[in-house]
């Protein structure tokens, strides 16, 4: 018969002391409180969004009756679908632009020695510390100048450039660090095998750095969903709004006030992000660089 294990074991450590057990219970309590703090408002949002008895202002403790009328309102009475389209467009464009630029800069900073390499890296790092918001007047001016001779340059395009540009410095740093950890002998081998510089990146480095690139893509994709301020300031026309400022019009403007619809919109916003997470989850698993060189 198997002897019953005495004591409480955590993974492969020695059994817990009485104090350890108390601490364990305490940490569970803290975690439980924490999740309640996060989950309760969220659950209220979800419940309110499908509660037919909620009117323009959400009030607690109302009778519950399931209904999708807030969603109907959202789709029929507001520009919600336009906002979704705008946000998706901006998010996808931002992610792609960021990926392309960061690929170049990260690879170049990791692999090439050129004049001003250190200085330029420092410079973009410093510039990054200035809040994007501080440049808002500059953005305005820039936009009016460019759109003067290129009318297709909309505010949305400007927003894409701001989002993408804002992430470049830190993402370059992150990607450079990741590529640094890939042995340069791989590049050498690829060059001898016949790769051009571009092919070294595209065929060798990029697949190895895919976990990192996925994370960068995910972050830059989420950015436009989360940002309220820049979008609210730069986009003035209700039809060109992104989701965050768009939905905000449902709670800050008495004429269009509809809090349950706001909750419904917030719920729907999470969907594309969740889909992306699921799609990328395999890529996010790192460890691809193992086994390339003898460890």
């Amino acid at each position: 018969m198997k002897k019953k294990k005495e004591g409480l074991y955590l993974s492969d450590r020695p059994p817990l002391s009485p104090l350890g057990k108390v601490l364990l219970v305490l940490s569970y309590v803290v975690l439980a409180i924490w999740s309640i703090v996060i989950l309760w408002p969220l659950s209220q949002m979800v419940i309110s969004s499908v509660n037919g008895t909620q009117t323009k202002n959400i009030t607690m403790g109302r009778r519950f009756a399931f209904s999708l009328k807030h969603f109907e309102y959202l789709f029929n009475e507001t520009n919600f679908l336009l906002w979704v389209r705008n946000t998706l467009f901006i998010a996808v464009a931002t992610a792609l632009l960021t990926l392309v630029i960061v690929s170049f800069t990260g690879f170049a900073y990791s692999r090439y020695r050129f004049k001003g390499r250190r200085m330029s890296l420092l410079a973009i790092m410093l510039i990054q510390t200035i809040p994007t918001f501080a440049g808002i007047t500059a953005f305005y001016t820039m936009h009016s100048i460019i759109s003067g001779f290129a009318p297709f340059f909309t505010r949305q395009l400007l927003l894409i450039f701001i989002y993408a540009g804002g992430g470049i410095a830190s993402n370059t740093f992150i990607l450079k660090g990741y590529i640094d950890s890939v042995s340069t002998e791989l590049d050498d081998a690829a060059r001898i095998d016949g790769c051009s510089n571009m092919q070294v990146y595209r065929l060798i480095i990029m697949p190895i750095a895919r976990p990192m690139l996925s994370i960068i893509a995910l972050w830059s994709f989420i950015g436009p969903f989360m940002d309220y301020m820049l979008a609210a300031i730069l986009l003035t026309n209700n039809e060109s709004l992104t989701l965050a400022p768009g939905l905000f019009t449902l709670i800050n403007d008495t004429r269009t006030m509809n809090q349950p619809a706001f909750a419904a919109g917030g719920l729907l916003t999470a969907i594309p992000i969740i889909i992306l997470f699921i799609a990328l989850q395999n890529q996010l698993v790192s460890g691809l660089a193992q086994g390339s060189v003898k460890g």
Binding site: S183, L186, D188, D193, G291, K294
Partner: protein
């Protein structure tokens, strides 16, 4: 392919001095050339310049009469095996081996045929569809070799390809590589810091130190005719016994005083101009004979005995306290702290000018 280096030099950007300079080398078609040297002497740098991975600061690199200095690596018709193997981690073994051919847009069937052929020779057919991370170090090493083979290059470059393997496997792969070279008849340039590899595999050894070539020649020449003190001390295991001293009245007197050696007729002639000057004398452990002779006999006290099986290494102390290593057949009986008489095989003495460290005589 014949590879010729003319007065090659390399200075890395940001460095004060040349890492390599005045390297002249002629590597014959189909030969197995080993570049040997201690760590940091510039072996990899030289190999990478031949590969085109590092630029050439000065001098000329010539393949079969064609100047190669500015030709990119992929057009040099070479293949390289790296110390870390540098397999592409995201590709299967098959794709790793097929990569260079598919970049050159070879037809699929040709690629398949060549990869399978190489896999057959290297006995890695079983692992063709595994990722490099899922196979052992020795197998990875073979894959790296296979990747180089499928291109049918005209020069193989290898940078310490065996240094990550365990001793047994290394021994096995040494033979395997020589066999492979015999079959493929490709010019091979092989970099290592392991003199055993150099001695066992090479047609021609190039010994480097501190960015300069110390000697080039066959393994026999290296062992029996080291051209200077560095070579004498580097090649051979155990290391050659080397003593500083001077020539007095035609005989070598070691500076400690324990050894007085009257050289052979031939050596004496070569040493004549060195009368009264400082020279080093060297002798390999296995050329010291036991027993008393009328001349050149010395006494040594056995200090430590290393039993290697077929031979024993006696680490002895001379009367003046200096060390001497003597190898004797393994079945000879010696005990620690015994004092024995030995003498030199006079045909096996090496003399070097202490000032220039160059060999005296032939």
């Amino acid at each position: 392919m014949q590879v010729e280096l003319k007065d090659i030099g390399k200075k890395y950007e940001g460095r004060e001095n040349f890492t390599l300079r005045h390297i002249d080398l002629l590597i014959e078609e189909q030969s197995f050339c080993v570049i040997l040297g201690p760590s940091g002497c510039g072996k990899s740098t030289l190999l990478r310049m031949i590969a085109g991975l590092n630029s050439i600061t000065e001098g000329e690199l010539i393949f079969n009469g064609k100047l190669m200095n500015k030709v990119p690596p992929k057009d040099r018709d070479i293949a390289m095996v790296f110390q870390s193997y540098a397999l592409y981690p995201h590709m299967s073994v098959y794709d790793n081996m097929a990569f260079s051919l598919s970049l050159r847009k070879e037809p699929k069937e040709v690629i398949r045929e060549r990869v399978l052929e190489a896999a057959e020779i290297l006995q890695i057919t079983e692992y063709l569809y595994n990722k490099p991370s899922d196979i052992s170090g020795g197998q990875r090493q073979r894959v790296a070799l296979g990747r180089a083979m499928v291109r049918k290059p005209r020069v193989f470059l290898m940078d310490e390809p065996l240094s990550n393997l365990d001793a047994k496997l290394r021994e096995h792969m040494r033979v395997e590589l020589v066999r492979l070279h015999k079959n493929l008849e490709t010019t091979t340039i092989y970099v290592t810091h392991d003199q055993t590899e150099a001695m066992t595999m090479a047609d021609m050894i190039v010994l480097m130190n501190d960015g300069k070539i110390m000697q080039q020649g066959t393994p026999e020449e290296f062992y029996h005719h080291p051209e200077n003190l560095f070579v004498a001390g580097f090649i051979g295991s155990p290391t050659m016994n080397i003593y500083p001293g001077a020539i007095k009245d035609g005989a070598f007197h070691s500076s400690g005083g324990a050894l007085v050696v009257e050289p052979s007729e031939k050596d004496a002639q070569a040493l004549a101009p060195y009368e009264g000057k400082e020279v080093h004398m060297g002798i390999r452990s296995e050329r010291i004979l036991s027993g008393v002779e009328e001349k050149n006999t010395f006494q040594a006290e056995v200090d430590v005995i290393e039993m290697l099986g077929k031979e024993k290494l006696l680490n002895c102390k001379l009367q003046d306290g200096s060390d001497i290593v003597i190898s004797v057949p393994g079945y000879f009986e010696y005990a620690v702290d015994e004092v024995h008489n030995f003498h030199f095989d006079l045909d096996a003495l090496h003399f070097f000018d202490s000032e220039t460290t160059e060999r005296i005589g032939s």
